[in-house]
């Protein structure tokens, strides 16, 4: 049995065109990414801003055709599928976007936005049926009573409610996988947990696999507690493994830095924080990534090798890591309560 | 800087710099400067045919020769003497003018004498005078254009004499296509060779030309300089009628040509008490010709019916309030001329086409047309026509008149639409093939150049108006392109129109000419080839406070400065001559005008 979705050495290089005859500058947003998703599993994808997380999400949902590599859905190459297969793939892989306001057409009511896809995919036969189904969906995501929301325009709802609508829309086509691209970063802290819980409930009750994209390790840990986590840096996956393993013993120096930077809602720990294990604060531009290991300019452990050759993902312990000096990197431990 | 003493302030147009140049024959000419700068051997007053001698001191018709003596001492404005060679030059280069078709040659006798040799048969004397007088001979100085004059002289010498009337060109010469081309090329070169400023022999010299103003100064060497009471002429280029009127109203100009609509005219006189308005007939009628190629306009009775159906009073009121309506359809001559050439008895025999819708209805009924319940007429086959009147869109006076005519026809039961089209396509649309319009509106019954009715008659039968009427012509044979019109005249005898027109300049007796004119006028009216809406009345505003010497001064009070069209011959002459368009700057040259100190 093959995985639900597999990314086979996928690279996504954008070309920033300038004008009709302009020469394009390449932007390698994803480089040689190898990743697979099993049915019903939750994978958290974390990384700094601009490292290519959204791009990965778009490749997975078929919005970008990768410039290299293959995207396999149930073993078949998505970009070589026939119409029916492609349509099936389309239906099965859904997306939940970050900005719930932008993701809903402000000119259309919730019912309009939610009924059209199911009508088009013939999941329901009539408007009447669609109405019932939309109510059911709203109910599922906790917007009760549905009648109160169904005729509303997006601007008439709060951010949390809109985010629920997005989830309802994503599950309406009965997908097998949902890519959630920073689904809670725009909602209030106090409501984040509710949405995350909803997602994890949907995962459990409907068996939908989730790719949770975020830069917030804390929420990633929360939602994917039994799933996996992949850490991205400048278009590359630098560490990958089960959430527990990855967080318990982070190996890649970048991940260690990242974890050190995560704020902790506990003044005793937070105030005792030490310096970040980093050489430089600023992330290099993705347009001209550093040679070799792209993390080397910021890495405390970088050697000449790191400047020259790019490491590849290798299993180390329970996770796979892409670092020349995995062994040398000291074990990371969080500052603990004094 | 502005010196207002002894200045005459005129109004006019000219090509704006950089388009302005000194050759009056080139496009746009020299505009309003022309009359002040250039003159001819004679000055004809074209609405009265009165002829003044200008650069000619004497004329002597001797058999088929006309000997002209030039005033001695006349010089071009650049100081060079004006001689008979310059007159000859004019006819050599500008050999397309009408007179050359009647000449065999022009000979220079000496510096001040020149002989015109006429072909046989030669036109009657008055006709000869008219031919000579309509030209402005002192416009092509040999000392400026010698190269082109010699060239054309040389080219013309290559041509053979011919007697074939179809091949006869200027001076009875057969101009082959090859020759034609060379002559045209030479003409082109001549046009581009002009000086920056015009050089004529006239009383004023152009000193400055801008987009809005022209300044001329007195030519101290003018041959009749003692008559010229002005040191300068300022000409304003108003661009639009409104601007001209505004200048007039505020007293910034001394003269303004034309007759604006009645209310504007009255308003002008009321707001500027220094103004007087003179009115005079234009030798031109605005009217509409029928397209004989478009049934039912091929039918004489139908055409008559249409003429009867039009209430020309109303058309006149809108088109030209002071104009004159006719009681004829169209005669080939302006209405005001009829009494001069046609005896009252003869006039009686001409059908009166005054407004008479009943009569129109009768005529249609006779033709088998029926009036339907909707008030529209249907032809014998039962169809109601949809007529189109064509008119050149930019010419508002004609458009307005035509619009009223169209409405009247529609109201009468002959649905008619007006199509006002761009001037650049109008003539072509109207005349090409069968023509695009049933009726075309234009100047009809019009005399350009001189008044003798042959002029207006041929303008209709041979000119553009006839083409718009689609008069029958020979399609081939030796007479190809000539009129194929042999129609019964007033006495029942058939008249060949082409022949009659052809022979008219050669009719030596006055009675013969009058008889021919009557016949043609009668036939034209009876056949109702068109309908003259009204004879146009034009006029002039003059400033009597700054300038003195205007005619009819004693009648200002009587008519409250709005003088009607004169009826007395003296008045007619005097008033006509204030019109630059009719008589040039006669008032200046004759010394009648002077600044009022």
């Amino acid at each position: 049995m093959s995985s639900l979705l597999e990314l086979h050495n996928i690279s996504m290089v954008f070309e920033q065109k300038s004008g009709l005859f302009g020469k394009a500058t390449p932007i390698p947003a994803m480089v040689d990414v190898q990743l697979s998703f099993e049915p019903g599993e939750i994978v958290a994808l974390v990384g700094e801003s601009g490292c290519g997380k959204t791009t990965l999400g778009k490749v997975v949902t078929g919005l970008h055709k990768p410039t290299e590599g293959q995207l396999l859905y149930q073993g078949k190459d998505v970009w070589k599928m026939n119409k029916a297969e492609f349509s099936e793939y389309r239906r099965s892989v859904q997306l939940v976007q970050q900005d719930s306001y932008a993701a809903l057409n402000p000119m259309r009511t919730i019912f309009q936005s939610l009924s059209d896809p199911i009508l088009q995919h013939k999941l329901v036969r009539s408007r009447k049926e669609a109405y019932d189904r939309v109510c059911e969906l709203l109910d599922t995501v906790g917007l009760t009573p549905p009648e109160q929301y169904i005729e509303k325009y997006p601007h008439q709802m709060s951010g949390g409610q809109r985010q629920r609508v997005l989830l309802a829309r994503a599950i309406s086509l009965k997908p097998k996988l949902i890519v959630a691209d920073e689904p809670v970063s725009m909602i209030d802290v106090s409501l984040r947990m509710a949405i995350l819980r909803l997602m994890s409930n949907l995962n459990k009750s409907l068996g939908i696999a989730f790719i949770y994209i975020t830069h917030d390790l804390a929420t990633a840990r929360y939602i994917a507690q039994y799933g996996r986590m992949a850490v991205m840096y400048l278009g590359k996956i630098v560490e990958q493994g089960s959430v527990h393993d990855v967080l318990a013993a982070p190996k890649h120096p970048y991940l260690q830095a990242l974890l050190s930077a995560v704020p902790v809602p506990n003044p005793r720990i937070a105030k005792a924080k030490r310096e970040l294990p980093l050489k430089s604060l600023d992330m290099p531009s993705i347009m001209n990534p550093p040679s070799g290991c792209s993390f080397h300019p910021r890495c405390l452990y970088a050697s000449q090798t790191c400047e020259q050759t790019a490491p590849s993902l290798m299993p180390y312990g329970n996770t796979i890591v892409s670092c020349h000096h995995v062994e040398k990197v000291p074990q990371w431990t969080i500052a603990t309560v004094k | 800087t502005e010196d207002n003493t002894k200045v005459f302030r005129d109004l006019g147009g000219w090509p704006k710099p950089p388009l302005f140049q000194g050759n009056p024959f080139a496009s746009g000419g020299v505009g309003q400067a022309s009359q002040y700068t250039f003159e001819g051997l004679f000055q004809i007053v074209r609405s009265t045919d009165k002829i003044y001698k200008r650069l000619a001191e004497s004329v002597e018709h001797k058999g088929n020769e006309t000997i002209i003596k030039i005033r001695p001492g006349v010089t071009w404005q650049d100081g060079k003497p004006f001689t008979s060679k310059d007159v000859w030059s004019y006819y050599m280069l500008n050999n397309g003018v009408e007179i050359t078709k009647h000449l065999t040659s022009i000979e220079i006798v000496d510096d001040t004498t020149i002989t015109f040799k006429w072909q046989e048969p030669s036109p009657f004397t008055e006709m000869k005078d008219l031919f000579l007088a309509q030209d402005q001979q002192a416009t092509i100085p040999y000392h400026l254009y010698g190269k082109y004059i010699d060239k054309v002289d040389e080219l013309l010498k290559q041509a053979k004499k011919t007697d074939d009337p179809n091949k006869k060109g200027p001076f009875g010469l057969e101009i082959t296509d090859k020759l034609r081309k060379d002559i045209d090329k030479n003409w082109q070169d001549f046009l581009t060779a002009g000086p920056k400023m015009p050089v004529g022999t006239g009383p004023f010299i152009v000193k400055k030309v801008t987009a809005s103003d022209m300044i001329l100064e007195k030519n101290e060497n003018y041959w009749k300089v003692e008559n010229i009471h002005f040191d300068r002429i300022f000409i304003k280029n108003p661009g639009s009628d409104s601007s001209g009127l505004a200048l007039l109203k505020s007293g910034k100009i001394d003269t303004y040509p034309g007759t604006p609509p009645r209310d504007i005219l009255e308003n002008m006189l009321a707001t500027n008490k220094d103004l007087v308005h003179y009115r005079m007939f234009d030798p031109a009628t605005i009217g509409m010709v029928f397209n004989l190629d478009k049934p039912p306009f091929d039918n004489q009775k139908f055409r008559q019916a249409v003429v009867y159906a039009l209430d020309r009073t109303k058309i006149r009121e809108v088109g030209n309030y002071y104009g004159q309506e006719a009681d004829v359809s169209m005669t080939g001559m302006p209405q005001s001329e009829l009494t001069k050439w046609i005896t009252p008895e003869n006039r009686e025999t001409m059908t009166k086409f005054t407004y008479n819708p009943d009569k129109a209805g009768e005529l249609l009924t006779e033709l088998g047309w029926k009036k339907g319940a909707d008030g529209n007429w249907a032809d014998p086959s039962g169809t109601t026509p949809n007529f189109i009147i064509g008119v050149s869109g930019g010419w508002l006076q004609a458009v307005n008149s035509a619009q009223i005519a169209a409405e009247q026809m529609t109201k009468f039961g002959l649905p008619t639409k007006l199509l006002a089209v761009d001037g650049s396509v109008y003539y072509n649309n109207s005349t090409k093939d069968k023509g695009a319009y049933h009726m075309s509106v234009d100047w009809v019954d019009v005399s350009w150049g001189f008044m003798f009715p042959w002029n207006s008659l041929r303008n209709f039968y041979w000119g553009g108006i006839g083409n718009m009427a689609h008069l029958p012509k020979f399609k081939d044979g030796p007479d190809k392109g000539k009129l194929n019109m042999k129609l019964p005249g007033p006495d029942g005898q058939v008249v060949d129109i082409e022949k009659t027109l052809q022979s008219m300049p050669y009719l030596q007796k006055d009675e013969e000419r009058k008889d021919a004119i009557f016949k043609l006028a009668w036939i034209t009216n009876e056949n109702a080839y068109g309908v003259g809406f009204f004879q146009n009345t034009t006029g002039y505003f003059e400033n009597v406070k700054t300038i003195k010497g205007w005619p009819r001064e004693d009648e200002f009070e009587k008519y409250d400065r709005s003088l009607p069209v004169p009826t007395e011959p003296d008045d007619i002459d005097a008033v006509s001559e204030i019109n630059f368009g009719f008589g040039g700057i006669t008032y200046f040259v004759e010394g009648r005008l002077s600044p009022r100190e």
Partner: protein, 283 residues
């Protein structure tokens, strides 16, 4: 239906657009019902020219004694029709090309934009004259076509940039993910978002076209129709000397006033459209 009611409710709520609406409605009535109510009689009645307004002649009479108001009413039909058609053509071409250009992108987009820019650089006034001659304006349709010939590029550009910014929006992107059809995306997602823009453009184009038509009419390039406002203006200026005859003032200023009022109405009405069509703004 409820949308319509909502629409007008909001328009009426906004003071400006309400005034605009009223003005436009009056003009529409004038052009549609007006000619049936007021019978046009163009018979010359010279003695009664330039009458001052009275019960019989609301705006007095013109230089030939014909009722000015009724001429205005009958003229409005043609003026509005030409404006309407021109706006329609412009909108059609502009929206179509703009949408295609924005959606498809690539070479087609570059091509369309090149042509559009080309049209934008050639001065429109002489072209209008030339077009008027080429197409020999005969009826409102050809008139409108000529008028719109040079007004679409601006709209094309505007629509294109709207579409381009829209198509990257999340709610369009998600449509692709959900496998929604192209027609759905265009007509149900994109169009509603630019309707208010298009309606405003429509009104503004119409307003421009009417000014243009009056200009062409004044230049005598369109068929003579004495009740057309432009022609009335032209006649007023030439027949009343524009200004020299105070009696002609009413005749001169009534088409100008109508024109100005219509423009005013359009501008005001357009003011409220965005609000009325956008659920966000109607609160």
């Amino acid at each position: 239906m409820r949308g319509m009611i909502d629409f007008f409710r909001i328009i009426c709520h906004n003071k400006r657009s309400f005034i605009g609406l009223i003005i436009l409605v009056i003009f529409i009535l004038m052009a549609t019902v007006g000619p049936f109510v007021f019978k046009l009689n163009m018979t010359v009645d010279y003695n009664n020219r330039y009458l001052t307004p009275s019960f019989e002649h609301w705006l007095g009479t013109d230089f030939a004694g014909r009722d000015t108001f009724i001429q205005l009413v009958h003229g409005s039909k043609e003026v509005l029709l030409v404006g309407l058609l021109a706006a329609f053509f412009t909108l059609f071409v502009g929206a179509l090309l703009g949408t295609i250009s924005g959606l498809v992108g690539g070479r087609l987009d570059a091509g369309i934009m090149l042509i559009t820019n080309l049209f934008l650089t050639i001065p429109s006034f002489p072209i209008l004259i030339i077009m008027a001659a080429i197409f020999s304006i005969r009826d409102p349709i050809s008139f409108a076509l000529v008028l719109s010939a040079w007004s679409w590029p601006g709209l094309t550009r505007a629509v294109r940039s709207q579409i381009i910014s829209l198509k990257e929006r999340d709610f369009i992107v998600i449509c692709k993910v959900m496998g929604m059809s192209k027609p759905h995306i265009i007509f149900k997602e994109l169009m509603p978002s630019i309707t208010s823009f298009l309606s405003i453009s429509f009104i503004m184009t119409m307003r421009g076209a009417i000014t243009g038509s009056v200009g062409i009419m004044m230049l005598g390039l369109a068929p003579y129709s004495p009740t057309n406002w432009g022609q009335m203006l032209n006649l007023a200026i030439s027949q009343t000397g524009g200004i020299f005859n105070p009696l002609g003032f009413i005749y001169l200023f009534s088409p100008i006033l109508c024109l100005a009022l219509f423009q005013l109405g359009s501008i005001f009405f357009a003011n409220g459209i965005d609000e009325a069509l956008n659920p966000r703004l109607r609160g």
